[in-house]
Symmetry: C2
Subunit: 309 residues, 2 copies
């Protein structure tokens, strides 16, 4: 697998134009404009096949006109995601506690699909657009109030900034960096089982970065905390936006000192070393006990890269 | 210059113990416990030399007893930063609009020093501890209220989490990833002058990451926006915590396609290519027109690394 899901958003964000409300309005008036509707984190998609099968899924964009009718006076809930060539693309949160259901919009069929289930079935570029929209929309949903003074804030710059009318504090969409690392030593790599995962499911270790850390220091801290292992060197591999709700996964290969890997017993329940041949069996899904890291996460990219090399 | 300022925090954060209030209280009762006092983003420091000179500066830690007397019933404002060997280290915000002044505490002399001015004069490990404390304390100052519902939230886990008593939303310290990249092509590197900088001051380009981007995509977007240049490949170099207020600087070397570098005229007013010899003159401070990127930022590390070879 060469492609990491949620990477490769093809849109030109044209970020300098976001504060230009006349320019944004003209893009929304473009008859070709497309709106990605999201309900409760779920994008509106069409699937050609049977109910419940995701194969061949595509985003079922709605028109800007329809979006405006739904948005009503909440037009500031239509956020500019960027240009796909010349075509403006917007994102929009569909409110409400219950799923609007199949064929929710006039234009055509479609349904709100859980992103973890549908992401691999979507064309990669569409999955990446959804990741951007979902993170941005989630941020608004969780940031309606100013953290500095508690007053209701309002969305500006077509959804890319919030401002508090009371204390004038500006707020920007949150991106939370996470280090995710495949620990290696003596031509073996380490996988761990998170608390809450079923027996036999294992993946790379990971954790949120904290203030005052470099990427390498965060990697060393997380490995020490979760496995007791001491890092010798850290190599950056690649990264991935992770829209649950808004992380940046920073993928690393960490060479560690020889030693006993001891799970912390809280976040990590089990740790296991894999020689390359055995790791390849895990990757190919033919290991008798251990299931491969999920296909959505960058852990699989790291693991596949190490298995290959 | 081999060391990037604010990296190398030597404290063991012992993050698993933060929720254990009895353990934290025992650390605070340790007679060796040290407290880093910060007023308005400024650490309390001692300098051996004349007023206004920062050379030889050291953190002037206060005792836990003194900190508790100052904190009074705000004891939840004493945040556990970690262990320095066996010694517990805490951080504490000193409130108030005006500088408490020289010798603010009973224990000894000292003053609240602007971090940008004093950071290079402090021992590197102390500068890194200040970076952690300042980012964490700033976060509390700007996040007293729940962004989801507007109610006052409260600090838990010795300052590493806030919880809303009304809606139970959890909030974690913010770390904002920034891509900072030295663009190179044809054995030349690109420096730019930010709006607001004096004529002749130039540095690497940079910008905040957005939801839905990889590090490489953010680098390409920022370079396109600020210079019009197209990225061919991106190599990760190193990273730096940047406590103004709480960024993670992700340092990159970006190979770009040949082409005219055109400043956006808003964030970047001037761009200029430097051949290696000329770049070395800039680095050494002997260029007639262009001043070196500031010594605090990772831009200097990137630039020095490229100059070296």
């Amino acid at each position: 697998m060469d492609h990491t899901v949620f990477t490769g958003n093809p849109l030109d964000r044209v970020s300098a134009k976001r504060p230009d409300s006349a320019w944004i309005a003209a893009r929304l008036a473009d008859p070709n404009a497309r709106v990605l509707a999201v309900w409760n984190g779920r994008p509106f998609v069409e699937t050609p096949g049977d109910e419940g099968r995701e194969e061949g899924a595509r985003l079922a964009y709605i028109t800007a006109g329809e979006a405006r009718r739904i948005a009503g006076d909440r037009e500031d809930g239509l956020f500019f995601l960027g240009l796909d060539g010349e075509t403006p693309v917007f994102g929009m949160e569909i409110g409400g506690a219950s799923d609007p259901g199949e064929g929710a919009f006039e234009r055509r069929t479609g349904r709100f699909a859980e992103l973890r289930g549908v992401a691999l079935a979507l064309p990669p570029s569409e999955a990446a657009v959804v990741a951007t929209a979902k993170s941005l929309l989630d941020w608004h949903r969780r940031h309606g109030f100013c953290s500095a003074c508690g007053n209701a804030s309002r969305s500006v710059d077509s959804g890319w900034r919030r401002v508090c009318p009371a204390c004038e504090t500006e707020h920007f969409p949150r991106v939370d960096p996470v280090v995710i690392m495949l620990a290696v030593a003596n031509d073996k790599c380490l996988l761990g089982r998170n608390a809450g995962w079923p027996e036999g499911r294992m993946s790379a270790l990971a954790g949120f970065m904290e203030p005052g850390e470099t990427i390498e220091e965060a990697c060393a801290r997380e490995l020490k905390e979760e496995s007791g292992l001491v890092v010798r060197s850290v190599a950056y591999h690649s990264s991935q936006p992770w829209p649950f709700p808004s992380s940046l996964m920073i993928g690393l290969i960490a060479e560690v000192e020889d030693g006993q890997a001891v799970p912390d017993g809280v976040e990590i329940l089990e740790l296991r070393w894999f020689a390359r041949d055995e790791a390849r069996d895990v990757l190919a899904g033919r290991h008798p006990e251990v299931a491969t890291p999920g296909g959505l996460g960058i852990a699989r990219t790291l693991f596949a890269s190490w298995c290959a090399g």
